[in-house]
């Protein structure tokens, strides 16, 4: 609970200082993780699913949300290749499910992924297959964003000329 609120506090501060002002100025804000991260992570830690959604009801709903989906083994392989030690909280070690960091990571992130699947439907996220190559992913991402930005931009122009 405290963990959840601590993150919400940080998020509120960033929202009000770093996200809302550029949006008002008409800029595009790229958020690396958003409230959905909290929904999955906090619920996996045992926080009430509805409570955390209401908590974050002050957040701006993104125009577009991309969810990079990978199976647990792929994400583990990538992490292990990059650095030896898995972070304590990333592995959900605080929950005491396993004393082995890798095993704990597998259990914890497995549940997190289940929550993401629920959220994809609930909030209509666009799923990117993150197992494919970086180039492939980036092309898809550009495609999705381009379509979105163009549409929105066109609307804005129309509004202004009207």
């Amino acid at each position: 609970m405290t963990f959840s609120l601590l993150h919400a506090t940080d998020f509120a501060d960033r929202l009000l200082y770093k996200i809302i002002p550029p949006l008002k100025a008409g800029m595009i804000v790229l958020a690396d993780r958003y409230a959905y991260t909290a929904f999955t992570r906090d619920v996996t830690r045992g926080v009430d699913r509805q409570w955390v959604r209401e908590l974050y009801s002050f957040a701006v709903r993104p125009d577009l949300t991309l969810y990079f989906r990978v199976p647990i083994d792929v994400s583990l392989d990538r992490l292990m290749a990059r650095r030896v030690k898995i972070k304590f909280y990333e592995a959900g070690m605080d929950l005491g499910w396993s004393a082995n960091p890798v095993e704990s990571f597998r259990l914890f992130q497995g549940k997190v992924l289940d929550e993401y699947d629920r959220i994809v439907e609930e909030f209509g996220l666009d799923v990117v297959n993150a197992v494919s190559s970086i180039t492939e992913q980036q092309r898809l991402v550009r495609d999705l964003i381009a379509r979105h930005v163009l549409t929105t931009h066109a609307e804005t122009v129309n509004e202004q000329s009207a």
Binding site: M1, T2, S4, L5, L6, A8, T9, A12, D13, L16, Y17, R45, G46, V47, D48, Q50, W51, E54, L55, S57, F58
Partner: protein, 257 residues
């Protein structure tokens, strides 16, 4: 009293909506079931300078002499959050929403680490301020009331809530005598003007109205805080005794202290 539903629905309920002492107001902390815990939670509310600290100190001594185990908890006193809150207050860059969430984080930490364990172990928990302070301060600052009540749905409804009520004139006198007015107590962040006295008066008046508006909703027991310390204490003890004695009689001779 009312017979509340097994799981209280959604946000904090109004006076007739099924608040039950010792239970979560709204959406619970699923991993911390608290039903049947023997401890009692007593909250002492009231604005700054109303004399809460001295009343709690006296109440604690009295309860301990009677053989009760007593734990105190107070607003922004969590070891985790207190330094952060002080830092944020001093820099003046704190948005009111962030402010609200910082307080809620502090409260959650104390709830999980102090209040719930103490209730489980059968202590009397004396809370110097409770969520009503947060609701009042945030309410004055224009934060959405429904959202606030949903946010604090994880709070436990105290068995007793005493509200030390005072008028703003008395309050001004006491605060000036004691230590003077400070920036936050005067609501200077609300920018009612540069004059700290005027701002204090305006802000505290609004706070008092917020507290009064919650009195029925949350079953406050209102005490006139303009009276002497001793008279207030007598009243507190009388009401606490009536509440505690039928439910639990500590074996006084067995307690060596």
């Amino acid at each position: 009293m009312n017979s509340p539903p097994e799981v209280p629905p959604g946000p904090l309920e109004g006076a007739n909506g099924g608040i039950q002492a010792g239970r979560y107001y709204g959406r619970s902390i699923p991993y911390l079931p608290i039903d049947g815990y023997p401890g009692k939670l007593i909250a002492i509310e009231g604005t700054d300078g109303v004399g809460r600290s001295i009343q709690i100190q006296l109440l604690r001594e009295w309860l301990e002499v009677k053989g009760y185990g007593v734990v105190e908890t107070g607003w922004t006193r969590s070891p985790l959050m207190q330094p952060t809150i002080e830092l944020a207050k001093s820099s003046n860059t704190l948005n009111k929403l962030t402010f609200v969430l910082l307080y809620a984080t502090d409260f959650a930490d104390r709830l999980e680490k102090e209040i719930i364990p103490a209730l489980k172990a059968g202590f009397v928990v004396l809370s110097d301020r409770y969520i009503f302070t947060a609701l009042a301060r945030a309410g004055v600052r224009g934060i959405d009331r429904a959202w606030l009540r949903s946010l604090y749905g994880f709070a436990i409804a105290p068995h007793l809530v005493f509200y030390l009520k005072v008028d703003v004139e008395t309050l001004i006198g006491r605060v000036l005598e004691a230590r003077g007015m400070d920036f936050w107590e005067s609501g200077m962040d609300l920018k009612h003007g540069d004059d700290i006295y005027d701002s204090f008066r305006t802000y505290q008046n609004k706070l008092l109205r917020e507290y009064s508006s919650m009195a029925d909703e949350f079953h406050f027991r209102v005490l006139d805080a303009r009276r002497s310390v001793d008279r207030i204490q007598d009243e507190l003890r009388r009401q606490v005794e009536v509440f505690l004695e039928p439910s639990e009689k500590p074996a006084e001779p067995a307690l060596v202290r």
